[in-house]
Symmetry: C2
Subunit: 193 residues, 2 copies
Amino acid sequence: MKLLEERIRKDGIVKPGNILKVDSFLNHQMDVKLFREMGKEWKRLFKDEGINKILTIEASGIGIACVVAEEFDVPVVFAKKTQSLNIDGDVYSSKVVSFTKKKEYDIMVSKKYLSPEDRVLIIDDFLANGCAADGLSELIQESGATLVGIGIAIEKGFQTGGKNLREKGIHLESLAIVESMDDTTGEIVFREQ
Amino acid sequence: MKLLEERIRKDGIVKPGNILKVDSFLNHQMDVKLFREMGKEWKRLFKDEGINKILTIEASGIGIACVVAEEFDVPVVFAKKTQSLNIDGDVYSSKVVSFTKKKEYDIMVSKKYLSPEDRVLIIDDFLANGCAADGLSELIQESGATLVGIGIAIEKGFQTGGKNLREKGIHLESLAIVESMDDTTGEIVFREQ
């Protein structure tokens, strides 16, 4: 998606350790107009899939997912990262290793909000090693729901997550795929799509 | 806001300890159509305030804030609860005590995303003792930005947060104010507004 690639080139900052900071528009400050355009693009890409639920993970996926969900006219469910007193014990859960935070955590979704009738689109801001997507996929599988596809804003194409998901036959649509980036020049190369 | 009150009556669950579970539509599964109507209502209530930024706090405020932000045509900034490698050290920070999680945590916003020119509307899902609102207000004050008002989905009117904010002269608009609730009968009484 050209609009997103241009925005990443304009406002993304490449940091040592393959970190791409896009917190001025994607995951700290959030440009909801951009999210709307991203939502329309995913709607185009997944339009005939009968999606009736969007699943994401707290925190930075939630804003994108809510705007996208309006395009599909469906509710969002977000997986929570820690047990809170406000969640029933009756949950699906799996484990995720965070690339940016370098730690393992549990994610969970109440059993009330995923069921075998659900056709689910996962939405998230980043795909790197794919652990969050794998964790969310496990929750869907546990529930008996159908994983229709995964929509990612920015895929790090030089990491293994996207390749692994595509090899499993999962319909993955990343709106921008970074092939390489250079923290000395700031150059970002995108994969042609 | 009648629509929200009716939804709370229909789908909210009163639990012992003054806990109101609304996770089927507000803060686990999220009804974005309802969020849109809430956004229109806050737009009506804050329409002449020159708001140029929405501030919320992860995680459950983000979805509401993003939909509301589209009504105002402004970006959202969400305060983060823990230090992540993806955030610069250059942040405004304050402390919050969570009512539901019964613990204290730090919140922070990058200095890049709040500045003296900003006229900020805080949006959050719940107001109880007001600690999250106080913490967000502190971030705004630190930055030199102007706190224009606070929009809350559900205020627990029997706790002190709303009263304290109103006494400080802060323009607070809670779309539903719960005066009392009974975990044996499930009855919820709303304040007339």
